[in-house]
Symmetry: C2
DNA sequence: TAGCTGCCTTGATGTACGTCAACCTAACTG
DNA sequence: CAGTTAGGTTGACGTACATCAAGGCAGCTA
């Protein structure tokens, strides 16, 4: 184990504390996500799986804080996580929500650039960075895969900058719902009705709004017949075209 | 030459149109930027330099547009570039300014995710993507370098999201000036007074403000004795500590 | 069933920043 | 040198969203 142990500051389940090396359930995620664009052979997959451990989180559990030594890399296998940055006075910007298949802590420098926390119950696959780096040395195609992931995240971040800097509250919410829906479908889940597992506060901190404005805007879209709010944090998109129009501002 | 030729839609100087392969001045940039974290030997440097061409831009010249086939990668060798995204009604978000040493067009998918344009006279080093990819296959350490660059850009993007979503106009301007100053110093230029080569409109589109608000905020900071506006688009930071305090919101 | 507690909604009011418009200056141009 | 143009600044006014405040409603616990 490395000097930094995530268990020290995060309440994890017993399952997570056990060094689940041998029968690590993370083989699934490794195979699925690291190999999509860079297929590894069985032996390589085994090697990657061997260095991973399972982590379980409850809603609100912190995974790591901005500025901490970034000794672990994570892959979300179930549930929803959020990453955010804080100003000294407590203002918060959620920079992203993470769903199964997404990576966490890929920063190149040795400290995390943001804090990470569970939104729902979630399970993660944890890789010690040092060991992962060693594997990357041997398998350049995995590195290529990581570069591809980072590039994609960068494009997503730029889209979010456009949203934060130039869109109205209504456009922000519409864009947010459409993105959530598309991401759900790309994971093979249902995109309509779309599951919205995070609180109004989290949505506001993601879109640069207050909870009140988020709430009012949902109400507004509902009143216009564009969406309907269902039980269990689900939003049904009644008029996809209209929602797209709203998101683009026309 | 590839099917897509940047010359077709961008007014470039005669020097840029010439296939300056043999005596490409881009050796300098290649050596400097691609090798900082992944030193190449002389032969490797030659190979990289061999596939590069020099490009010159005048203020306002477009380099490429969002959605175009991304067949080229660029490295800025002199001057300032900007990259931006547009909404259908013309609202604009500048997602970044690029200075010597910065890369452009590193997106993994085959179209550019943003448009790029010259802010000042600028020179760029152009690499055909296909050839660069081939080199990357052979030299994994270059790929590592690119991953490191992408990760750093991602961290910068997240910081910008915090700014766009949660900072006031005054905090935005103060943060902007400090960042410009730090970047100038990291390039070996003078950080104070700092050169601010872009227009108020560009600054506004970068910070999610209007030109009027940018102008008023500069005036406000000047009135408070924190900065002074000098000739030639230079800003002198009179009280660095105060500017830091403003940027953080305390 | 009552009493919490956390999240959401809704209303009344405030304000930071946008919008509209005038003017100023510097750099071109004939 | 007058005329023109493109930034930049400043002022008056409007508004989208924040702030402050009061309920509503589900999910706990006793």
């Amino acid at each position: 184990m490395s000097a930094f142990d995530v268990n020290k500051m995060t309440p994890l389940s017993e399952a997570a504390r056990r060094p689940a090396r041998a029968q690590s359930p993370c083989q699934a995620c490794t195979v699925r996500h690291l190999t999509v664009c860079a297929p590894l052979n069985d032996q390589e997959v085994q090697e990657v799986a061997a260095i991973s451990q399972n982590v379980e989180m409850s809603p609100g559990d912190p995974l790591f804080d901005e500025g901490e030594r970034a000794s672990q890399v994570y892959n979300v296998t179930a549930g929803t996580m959020k990453v955010y940055k804080l100003l000294s006075d407590g203002r918060r910007q959620v920079t992203g929500f993470l769903f199964p298949g997404d990576f966490l802590g890929l920063a190149n420098n040795d400290t995390y650039a943001y804090s990470a926390e569970a939104v729902t119950h979630a399970t993660l696959c944890r890789f010690p960075r040092a060991k992962l780096d060693k594997l990357l040395e041997r398998y350049p195609k995995m590195e290529k895969r990581l570069l591809s992931i980072a590039s994609h995240e960068l494009a997503v971040a730029q889209e979010q900058m456009l949203l934060l800097g130039r869109k109205t509250a209504k456009e922000k919410i519409a864009s947010f719902l459409l993105t959530l829906s598309e991401r759900a479908e790309s994971r093979g889940q249902t995109g309509n009705p779309v599951s919205v597992p995070m609180s109004r506060t989290d949505i506001g901190d993601y879109l640069g709004l207050t909870t009140e404005t988020v709430s009012r805007t949902f109400t507004n879209l509902r009143g216009g017949g564009t969406i309907a709010l269902r039980n269990g944090g689900k939003v049904e998109i009644l008029d996809v075209d209209a929602l797209h129009d709203v998101a683009q501002g026309d």
